[in-house]
C-alpha cells in the first residue's frame, strides 16, 4: 500500500481540481477551496523540509570538520540569526528581521544576479559565433532587438523619416525591433508555448491517472 495510497491521493486531488473547473458549485467548489488551503499549508511544510535538509547537510560538514567547514558555520550562523530574529521579534517593519532582510539579503541577491551581466559580455566576445545560417539569423535578430530597444537605437535612426520617403520609414531600429517582437518572435515563442502546453497537459493527465508515478519514487 506504500505506492497505492499515494497514487489514489494524486488521482482524487487531480480529478477534483479538473471537475472544479467545469462544476464550481458544491460540493466540488467547497472541497476544492478547502484543498487549496491545505495545499498552501503543506507547501509551507515542504519549504521547511528544504531548510531542515540544508541545516542537516551543513551540520554534518561541521561535525566531520570537512575542508572549508568555516563557511558552513557562517551559513548556519546566518540561518539561526534570521530565524531567531523572525520568531522572537516578528517580521514587521523596522524589526531586526527586516533590517537583516533589507541590508544583508536584498543587496547580496541583487548583486548575485548582476554578476551575470559580466559573464554575458565575456560570452558575447568569446562564444557567440555565426557558424551557420541559423546562428547568423539568431545574431541578426539579437542585434536589432539589443539596439532597437534602447534610446541609442532611436537616436541612430531618427533621421530616417526626414531623408527617406514614407514607405521606407520602417527603417528605424525601434520600429524593426517592435516588428520582430510582434511577429516572428511571437510566432516562434507561440510554437514553443503550444508544444510545451500540450506536453504539460499530457504529463498532468498521466500523473492524475497514475500512469506516471515518478514523484512517488522507487519501492
Amino acid at each position: 500500500m506504500k505506492r497505492e495510497i499515494p497514487i489514489i491521493i494524486t488521482f482524487v486531488t487531480g480529478i477534483l481540481m479538473i471537475i472544479d473547473f467545469f462544476v464550481p458549485h458544491p460540493p466540488f467548489g467547497g472541497l476544492s477551496s478547502l484543498f487549496e488551503i491545505f495545499f498552501t499549508i503543506i507547501f509551507s511544510f515542504a519549504t521547511i523540509l528544504g531548510i531542515l535538509a540544508l541545516s542537516k547537510i551543513n551540520i554534518e560538514k561541521i561535525y566531520r570538520k570537512r575542508e572549508t567547514y568555516g563557511y558552513n558555520i557562517v551559513l548556519l550562523v546566518g540561518l539561526v540569526t534570521m530565524i531567531f530574529c523572525g520568531l522572537v521579534w516578528g517580521i514587521g517593519e523596522k524589526s531586526p528581521f527586516d533590517f537583516l532582510y533589507m541590508n544583508f539579503m536584498m543587496p547580496m541577491q541583487s548583486t548575485m544576479f548582476s554578476l551575470l551581466a559580466f559573464f554575458v559580455a565575456s560570452a558575447s566576445y568569446r562564444a557567440f559565433r555565426a557558424r551557420t545560417p541559423e546562428a547568423t539569423l539568431l545574431l541578426i535578430a539579437a542585434f536589432f532587438v539589443m539596439l532597437g530597444r534602447v534610446p541609442l537605437g532611436y537616436q541612430m535612426t531618427k533621421w530616417v523619416p526626414e531623408v527617406f520617403p514614407s514607405w521606407l520609414h520602417f527603417l528605424q531600429l525601434p520600429i524593426i525591433a517592435n516588428w520582430i517582437m510582434d511577429f516572428p518572435n511571437t510566432a516562434g515563442q507561440r510554437a514553443i508555448m503550444i508544444g510545451a502546453a500540450l506536453g504539460i497537459a499530457s504529463t498532468s493527465l498521466r500523473l492524475v491517472l497514475g500512469i506516471e508515478s515518478a514523484h512517488i519514487g522507487k519501492e
Binding site: 487549496e36 498552501t40 559580466f118 559580455a121 566576445y125 559565433r129 541609442l152 510582434d182
Partner: protein, 277 residues
C-alpha cells in the same frame, strides 16, 4: 603572438572592466538620450487612463530583490499613475519577497507623495503561498485565502475591502512578474477563467516568451524590463531611476554588440586561415 591572437585570448577581466566602465561612466556623466515609447507600454498606459476614476486595481508583486532594479521602478511608475487617477490599489504577492517590496512602494508613493491613506486608498494583503492554487483561491475569495493583511489585521476592518470579495469586484489586474509563478499562471486564472482585463510587467529576460499573451489580447499591455519602466516614467511625466539608467543601458548594449562583431571577425579571419592551410 600577433595582435589578433592577443586580442582573441584577452583576459576576461579586461572585458569585465570595459563593461563595468560602460555602465558607470554614463551614470556619472548622463547623455540624456531621448526615449521612444513602445506600443505595449503605451497600451498599458492608455488602458489605465481609460478606466473610470476610483476603480479598484489588484497589483501583484511577484518578484524579489534580485529583480528589483527592473521591476521596482515599474511598480513605482504604475502606482503613481493609479494614484493620480485616484484608483484604489489592493496589493498581493505570490512570491514571499514581494510583500515587503509592495510595502516599500506604498510607503514611498502612496503615503509619501499622494497622501493616500492605508486601508482607504490602498491595502497590502501580503504573501499568499501556493502558486496557481493561491491565485485561484484569491479569485474565488480574498477573505478565505488571505483574511489578514501583511500586518496581521483583519481585512474586514479596511474600507477599501468593503464589497471586494473576489476577482469579480476588481476592475483591473496588474502583475509584476520575475518568473514562476507569474504571468502564465495569472493569465490562466484572471483572463482564462474570469475574463478580467489585466496587464503585466516582467523582467526583460522573460519578455519575448510572454509577448504572445499581449499579441493574443490576453494581456492589455506588457512592460518588459528597465526600458519599459523608463517609458512608463516618460508617459506619466516623472522621469526617475529607470530613465537615468537608460544611457548606461544604451552604451552597454553597444559595447556588447561591438564584442559580438569583433569576436565574429576574429572567427572568420581564423576560418579563412584554416581553409588556406
Amino acid at each position: 603572438m600577433s595582435l589578433i591572437e592577443k586580442l582573441k585570448n584577452i583576459d576576461r577581466r579586461i572585458i569585465f572592466l570595459i563593461i563595468g566602465l560602460s555602465v558607470i561612466i554614463p551614470l556619472i556623466v548622463p547623455l540624456n538620450l531621448p526615449i521612444s515609447v513602445s506600443p505595449p507600454v503605451q497600451a498599458t498606459y492608455d488602458y489605465v487612463e481609460s478606466i473610470p476614476e476610483g476603480s479598484t486595481i489588484l497589483m501583484a508583486f511577484d518578484y524579489d530583490p534580485g529583480t528589483m532594479p527592473e521591476l521596482y521602478p515599474m511598480s513605482i511608475a504604475f502606482m503613481r499613475h493609479c494614484f493620480r487617477k485616484n484608483h484604489k490599489i489592493i496589493a498581493v504577492s505570490i512570491w514571499p519577497f514581494g510583500a515587503p517590496l509592495a510595502r516599500d512602494a506604498f510607503n514611498q508613493v502612496g503615503e509619501g507623495e499622494y497622501g493616500k491613506v492605508y486601508g482607504i486608498d490602498f491595502v497590502n494583503l501580503g504573501f499568499v503561498p501556493g502558486d496557481v492554487v493561491a491565485i485561484k483561491a484569491l479569485a474565488r475569495s480574498f477573505r478565505e485565502i488571505s483574511p489578514k493583511d501583511v500586518d496581521n489585521k483583519p481585512i474586514e476592518s479596511f474600507p477599501i475591502m468593503q464589497g471586494i470579495d473576489n476577482f469579480d469586484n476588481i476592475d483591473f489586474v496588474f502583475e509584476l512578474s520575475a518568473g514562476f509563478p507569474g504571468i502564465p499562471e495569472w493569465v490562466m486564472i484572471v483572463y482564462g477563467r474570469h475574463k478580467k482585463p489585466m496587464a503585466s510587467g516582467c523582467t526583460a529576460v522573460s519578455y519575448p516568451q510572454y509577448s504572445p499573451y499581449y499579441q493574443s489580447g490576453q494581456l492589455k499591455g506588457l512592460l518588459g524590463g528597465l526600458k519599459a519602466a523608463a517609458e512608463y516614467e516618460v508617459l506619466i511625466g516623472m522621469p526617475e531611476k529607470a530613465v537615468s539608467g537608460m544611457d548606461a543601458q544604451s552604451i552597454a548594449h553597444a559595447v556588447i554588440v561591438f564584442f559580438v562583431i569583433v569576436g565574429n571577425v576574429f572567427y572568420f579571419i581564423d576560418s579563412r586561415k584554416r581553409k588556406k592551410i
